[in-house]
Amino acid sequence: MGTTASQLPKDLLSEYQELTFLTKQEILLAHKRFTELVAKEDRNDPSPRVPMSKILTLPELKSNPFRKRICHVFSTSESKDGSLTFEDFLDLLSAFSDSATLEIKSHYAFRIFDFDDDGTLDRGDLEKLVNCLTGETDDTRLTPEEMKQLINNILEESDIDKDGTVNLSEFQHVISRSPDFVSSFKIVL
């Protein structure tokens, strides 16, 4: 534990505390967990990148159906391969922390659910989202009729300006009505 603390300089630690919603202990724990994931040959790199496949082995993400989307959204990698640096990792944990605001949580939730990254949730996104929620295999999926009925219902409810898609403000409007969202949109190491 002592070595972990010494690896993270004090000023950097306080900077992270300022820029994220995490406490000191959480940042140190995150650092410990992250360094465990870094490959041996990258240990000397000042800001090593951990590939997505390794991040997904974390037990906190392993059983999450949105794990790949989460990595893609928080990755700052140029090649869009979903790899994370330690700071990206902290951003991830910060957005999913207990004290993050509803606004930031709903923003990231929207981006995670926006599978084609076009800035709106259209029918394709909604279908993928529902499939993630119910399970991807053929026997766990909803039937096409059910899916159609469901998506029509969703658009009926949340698409306020009736343009056929759900945009960020509409999404946040819906989310802000749900008192459960903040408590369930959480990942704790």
Binding site: A95, V130, E146
Partner: protein, 720 residues
């Protein structure tokens, strides 16, 4: 690259901050302005596909540049947060030192507040345990434990109140030093029966004597009364507050602003879940839930198409089953009546062995607990035949269980009251202690039942099913679930008994806290060791509203019982703080009489009908005005919604117009053939919006070749 973008955004800052910061106000004021803002917010991301990071400004035009927003609240990556911070620091240098000092002070204050909140939340009871339960079983099981914790807090506050107002004065101003120590003829059985040693202890009403504190308006009886009523009123205020808060949420979730499907899709995934097993479970839950809802929707559709014959049949069945339910309830009440009567008749005869007499003493609580244990399960089976939709099935069962639980208690109290009233007042034992003892026994027995249920029924069952997984009998019984509604009802029952018995057994709040602690650990064990998550989860928020509402019913019942008892029964002449006075309220009348004439008159006026009538009238006026305000607001919301739709269609109309116009500019020779069909020349992006149909009057397109579209109607996002 980043610098360049930053400077670009910086220039835009000036114009955007002023316009978009009060989007809503602008929206209400000016239609045109709204289109401009909407265009900026929505059009921008579509302009460059996949480019979130480049268009963050468009997403968060105001938040990003509002210097008061903490950096961590910005949805950007860490490096960008650093850039923004540097820029903010640069700006801070250019502003005056007063302003800079003020801002830094604000930051310091905010941080201190955050740290305080964090430290306080670390003090929360059982934080880690709840977290782990939430991780394994999801939010809905946690709701039960949060409710339990809330009751513990409530009772701790109540303990403080009773300790300060009831126990402390008696201990300080006691004039006869009572020996409340353990005597030889006391047995440990007394702890279960509330007799002997406990009867002489501060647990019961009889211990509290008048003492040496003997002012007109400051004496032990008045403090006793004040203590009891402050506990009840404090609980009432807290509960009403919580119920109303929850109800507001629930109301917003239901009715015309129904987002249930969207919630189920957008908010149902519990990101706390770690284990693959529970993840798979959650997925099947969500799937079942969605299917159920869709089915219910279809069920509603079918219901509206039912024939008369089918309808008559269903109603007949329902009436029949309801009769069965009523008969069952009646039988249960009869059983309780007989049990109570028998127990009271036999209790004075001493010639039974101790075990039998203990059983006899505990007969009423045993019957009540048995009835409460059996009937809910029967109700759950009965309701399945009634052909309701699933949600109403759950609700109806819950309502029947609530009715059973509280009615049982009410019935028991009524019989107790009846026997107390009939029994001659001149016997030496004090009836208040008797009443307190019954409440004490109910509380203790409920705890024993919980303990037995967990360690002697659930645990062996679980162990057996682990040892013999193929056993047919065990499979028939099914796996054990943690039935949250029934467990919550138990808690409500405990709390109601505490409130009812408070007057006669002032230490009941302390006992209740101990009991709730014990229940917490027992239930934690039950959940973690013996149970699998329930097949159906329910929405945490709406159900917790129901829990608090039921608790409120319990409190109202306590008020009624106490009101009747205090008004109808004479305080016993041999014990307690009120000995010698004909009613409990004699002490308050004496206090009012001792006050100066004006104050006394004022208090009498406040408690008379002359004051109540104007009060009610004012309340009615207030209520009426709130109602009319509500309906006006509803209308306003409808209008604003319509306006949003119109705005959106306006926007698309303009986009199409402009696209057509551009097309005409580029190829004037084609325009004559294209005139009148603007649809075909829509820009490529709106392909995803094929379902969109503009309003009829909007879609009438003008021939574009005759006159170019005036510049002011050009969509703003193409100007830059």
């Amino acid at each position: 690259m980043a610098d360049k973008q930053a400077s670009g955004s910086f220039l835009r800052l000036m114009s955007e901050e002023s316009q978009a910061s009060d989007l809503i106000i602008v929206f209400c004021d000016d239609h045109q302005e709204t289109i401009l803002d909407q265009g900026r917010c929505q059009g921008a991301p579509r302009r460059s596909l996949g480019g979130y990071s480049e268009d963050e400004d468009a997403w968060y035009p105001t938040r990003r540049w509002d210097r008061n927003v903490p950096l961590r609240n910005l949805p950007v990556s860490m490096q960008e947060k650093r850039d923004i911070r540097d820029r903010r620091n640069l700006q801070r240098r250019t502003i005056g030192c007063w302003e800079s000092w003020r801002r830094s002070q604000r930051t310091v204050r905010r941080r201190m507040l955050e740290q305080m909140v964090q430290a306080l939340s670390a003090l929360q009871l059982w934080g880690r345990t709840l977290h782990s339960i939430e991780g394994r079983f999801g939010v809905s099981v946690k709701v039960y434990f949060v409710f339990l914790r809330y009751l513990v807090y409530l009772n701790l506050f109540n303990c403080l109140l009773t300790g300060a107002l009831i126990q402390a004065p008696v201990f300080i101003f006691r004039n006869n030093i009572y020996s409340s120590t353990f005597k030889e003829n006391d047995s440990y059985l007394d702890f279960f029966l509330g007799t002997g040693f406990l009867e002489r202890s501060p647990v019961f009403y009889g211990f509290y004597t008048r003492g040496s504190l003997d002012g007109k308006c400051l004496n032990t009886p008045i403090l006793f009364l004040l203590g009891v009523f402050s506990v009840l009123i404090f609980s009432l205020v807290m509960l009403v507050r919580r119920t109303v808060n929850g109800y507001k949420h629930k109301w917003m979730l239901s009715g015309r602003y129904n987002f249930s499907m969207s919630f189920k899709v957008f908010c149902s995934w519990d990101f706390c879940i770690h284990e693959p097993k529970s993840a798979a479970f959650k997925q099947s839950n969500i799937r079942n839930d969605l299917k159920m809802d869709l089915e219910e929707e279809r069920f509603e559709l079918l219901k509206s198409q039912r024939t008369l014959k089918v309808r008559v049949k269903i109603y007949f069945l329902r009436i029949l089953l309801n009769t069965v339910v009523v008969i069952l309830l009646g039988a249960a009440f009869c059983l309780i009546y007989i049990g109570t009567k028998y127990s009271h008749q036999q209790k004075d005869s001493k010639n039974y062995p101790w075990l039998y007499s203990l059983l006899l003493q505990y007969l009423p609580p045993i019957i009540i607990t048995l009835v409460n244990f059996m009937l809910p399960h029967i109700f759950r089976v009965i309701v399945k035949f009634e052909d309701y939709s699933f949600t109403s099935q759950v609700n109806i069962t819950l309502v029947r269980c609530i009715f059973l639980k509280l009615a049982c208690l009410a019935l028991f109290l009524f019989f107790l009251y009846d026997t107390l009233q009939k029994s001659p007042q001149n016997n030496q034992s004090c009836w208040e202690n008797q009443f307190g003892k019954e409440m004490y026994k109910l509380l203790v027995f409920d705890l024993l039942a919980t303990f037995t249920d967990t360690f002697f029924i659930m645990l062996p069952k679980k162990l057996l099913s682990e040892m013999y997984p193929e056993c047919f009998l065990l499979k028939v019984m099914g796996r054990q679930k943690f039935l949250i509604q029934l467990n919550v009802l138990d808690l409500v029952y405990t709390q109601t008994v505490t409130w009812v018995g408070l007057f006669y057994c002032p230490m009941l709040t302390q006992i209740c806290v101990c009991k709730l602690f014990a229940i917490f650990y027992i239930k934690k064990f039950a959940v973690q060791r013996c149970c699998k998550p329930t097949q159906r989860m329910f929405r945490a928020s709406t159900s917790s509203v129901l829990f608090h509402f039921v608790l409120l019913l319990g409190l109202l019942m306590a008020f009624v019982v106490l009101g009747i008892n205090l008004n109808k029964l004479k305080p016993s002449p041999t014990c307690g703080p009120f000995l010698g006075s004909s009613t409990v309220f004699n002490v308050t009348t004496m206090c009012v009489d001792s006050l100066p004439v004006h104050v006394g008159d004022f208090i009498k006026f406040m408690s008379s009908e002359a004051f109540a009538v104007p009060l009610i009238v004012v309340e009615i006026l207030f209520l009426t005005s709130s109602m009319s305000l509500r309906s006006a607001n509803n209308k306003c919301i409808e209008r604003l919604k319509d306006m949003l739709v119109t705005c959106s269609s306006d926007k698309w109309y303009l986009v199409k117009q402009q696209a057509a116009w551009l097309q005409d500019q580029r190829s004037p020779q084609q325009s004559s053939s294209r005139a009148g069909s603007v649809e075909g020349s829509a820009p490529p992006e709106p392909r995803a919006h094929l379902d969109f149909h503009p309003l009829p009057e909007r879609s009438v397109s003008q021939p574009c070749d005759t006159e170019p579209v005036p510049t002011h109607s050009r969509p703003p996002w193409n100007e830059s």
